[in-house]
């Protein structure tokens, strides 16, 4: 890219002067600028912005890029491509998240337990073998019409 080296991201800022310079580079206030903790993961001096998705940004404000809800020069979140409006949404929900999780887990576990019990202890309506009329279909099964068919009773008294 054609940006000069001072404007590109660099290593983790150690002194307050480096911090101020990094904040100015990223167009942020020095108080707002907070780099990722220096644990060797490769973030460098990139600012750690709040993990809010683009759904939460004002839809009525005239952004420079209205679909991305982003202004020219505004620092982008590290996971900007995850927080776009087609993807992850962190906007507040009408019901608290822990309540939703609890309800979902209760329903899911109830259904799974019932299905499991049904597999282990299946229960059906009682059935018997099918009963055919006309002496067990004697003529249809090729019995001799001249002979007396054997009498078949399907009941016991």
């Amino acid at each position: 890219s054609e940006l000069p080296k001072e404007l590109l991201p660099g290593p983790y800022p150690r002194t307050p002067e480096e911090r101020a310079a990094a904040a100015k580079k990223y167009n942020m206030r020095v108080e707002d600028y907070e780099p990722y903790p220096d644990e060797g993961f490769g973030y460098g001096d990139y600012p750690k912005l709040p993990n809010r998705s683009l759904h939460e940004r004002d839809p009525w404000y005239q952004w420079d890029q209205q679909d991305m809800r982003h202004n020219w020069g505004q620092p982008m979140h590290w996971n900007f491509d995850m927080y776009i409006r087609n993807r992850v949404d962190t906007s507040p929900t009408p019901v608290p998240w822990h309540t939703m999780r609890k309800h979902f887990l209760v329903f899911l576990s109830t259904m799974l337990i019932m299905f499991g019990l049904g597999q282990i202890y299946p229960s059906y309506m009682p059935v018997g073998p099918k009963q055919y009329p006309f002496n067990d279909l004697y003529l249809e099964k090729g019995g001799d019409p001249n002979k007396e068919p054997p009498v078949v009773t399907h009941y016991e008294i």
Partner: protein, 135 residues
């Protein structure tokens, strides 16, 4: 016995990394102290300066072919070319690297080998049916 004051609406909501607190429940919304206003004014000044730069380029009678966004360039650079210079092997990064890079490899090697050995054992004992058919 009393169990303390009831939780505030913001505490009852319990925002986490999947949902954020609504602005109406956040005490910061109702804080109109001069420090907050000065901070907002400074942020507005930065925003206005950037807007002006952008609008000047946009409405230029000889506009450049592309108006580059330095924030976008910095974002792309940080995520691609700035990772290796700032990477440092620490206990945490070594552990995570082993877990996510070498772990699955060894795991699937083990799984495939075990499955193949099991099948080979069945074939040697003659218990594996191998129909000579494509389907």
């Amino acid at each position: 016995m009393a169990s303390g004051p009831p939780p505030t609406a913001a505490e009852a909501y319990r925002p986490n990394k999947y949902v954020s607190l609504p602005a109406e429940l956040d005490p910061d919304t109702y804080d109109a102290s001069p420090e907050k206003r000065r901070a907002e004014a400074e942020r507005l000044a930065i925003r206005a300066r950037l807007k002006r730069q952008y609008q000047l380029q946009l409405n230029n009678p000889n506009p450049p072919a592309i108006i580059e966004d330095p924030a976008l360039l910095r974002w792309a650079y940080a995520r691609t070319q700035n990772i290796y210079p700032n990477f440092r092997p620490t206990p945490k990064t070594s552990f995570l690297g082993a877990l996510f890079a070498i772990g699955p490899l060894l795991f699937w090697i083990g799984v495939f080998k075990a499955e193949r050995d099991h099948k080979e054992k069945l074939i040697q004992e003659g218990k594996y049916k191998r129909p000579f058919s494509m389907f």
